[in-house]
Amino acid sequence: MAEGDKKKEGDKKKEGDQKKKARKHGSRNPVLVRGIGRYSRSAMYAPVTKVEKKIKERAPAKVVKTVGGDKNGGTRVVKLRKLPRYYPTEDVPRKLRSHGIKPFSQHRRKLRKSISPGTVLILLTGRHRGKRVVFLKQLGTGLLLVTGPLALNRVPLRRAHQKFCIATTTKVDISSVKIPKTLTDTYFKKKKLRRPKHQEGEIFDTEKEKYQLTEQRKADQKAVDSQLLPLIKKVPQLKGYLRSTFCLSNGVYPHKLVF
């Protein structure tokens, strides 16, 4: 078995052999007759050189503890890793075959072609419905980051849903505006301050029903708006446009309007 000897010599992988030509990998099982090899499956599987198995040090499974208290004296043997106290009827609940069902965080976020940074959007729902607002960027969850600016129409840095906005063709050049990186979905997420340890008498009295304005929000608003406002002032009448609200009147049909 010349091949076995070769293997013993070139012990540690092919690092030493790199200078020699890389050997083409072939079967180490010589063929006796077509379809029949020299060595059986188990002979091929077993390693040629025996490997010494290292015996790992095992963590102790039992501990001997002394008993105090009532039954003082004596020792008890306590198992460290106990058997589970409950076995569910099904080990893992059986899932039907599904393909490509991803959790929300991995969904593909789409953005309408008509919406790009700097577009003026018309908000359709929420307390700011009808207001015209400047789109800044799309956040991780797909919601749109939008600002009034606050000084023009009292719309702060806020999230808006793409489906509930009309995108107008009016755009402001926002390429020079730097949006702070701290503005993410977690920044805007509503805070829940409910403590279930409360006594039963005050279930419906939630603490944070009213929105509290924080200094950080004010600072971020100022940072963004101070960059935006001069850009808006450059375009004639855009300031007044953002201050006004959108409404329908007689003879105005949304399907016929070009926004």
Binding site: V120, T168, Q237, Y241
Partner: protein, 139 residues
């Protein structure tokens, strides 16, 4: 009611609907009760039969013999400067205005609204000045 515009050879007509919508053509010949042979060399309409239903007569007539060749229709059309006259007519201007209004963006609509507001303010102001003056005379 007296009719002023007649279907005649050389009458310039406006095509109201169909593939040649919005174009001017000259009536070159009458085929039967419903159709006319029509040609619009200067407006890009090939010589063809069009039904009268889709034609709306204009005020212009060009001097052309019946079944005249396209070359002569073109000559007569350019001599009469129909395209220029059409652009200046209020009919064409109204069409243009309607098109502009339809493609107005939301921002444009806002600008129009503010312009109208300013204009009306000035007019109302002038009107009240005149009315006050008149009232003062009557007293």
């Amino acid at each position: 009611m007296v009719f002023k515009r007649f279907v005649e050879i050389g009458r310039v007509a406006f095509v109201a609907f169909g593939p040649y919508e919005g174009k001017l053509v000259a009536i070159v010949d009458v085929i039967d009760q419903n159709r006319a042979l029509v040609d619009g060399p200067c407006t890009g309409v090939k010589r063809q039969a069009l039904p009268f239903k889709c034609l709306q007569l204009t005020d212009y007539v060009i001097k052309v013999p019946h079944s005249a060749r396209q070359k002569y229709v073109r000559r007569a059309w350019e001599k009469a400067e129909i395209n220029k006259k059409w652009e200046e007519s209020s009919w064409a201007k109204k069409i243009e205005a309607r098109k502009k209004r339809a493609t107005m963006s939301d921002f444009d609509r806002y600008k129009v609204m503010t312009a109208k507001k300013m204009r009306n303010k000035i007019i109302k102001h002038e009107l009240t000045v005149l009315v006050q003056r008149r009232l003062r005379l009557e007293l």
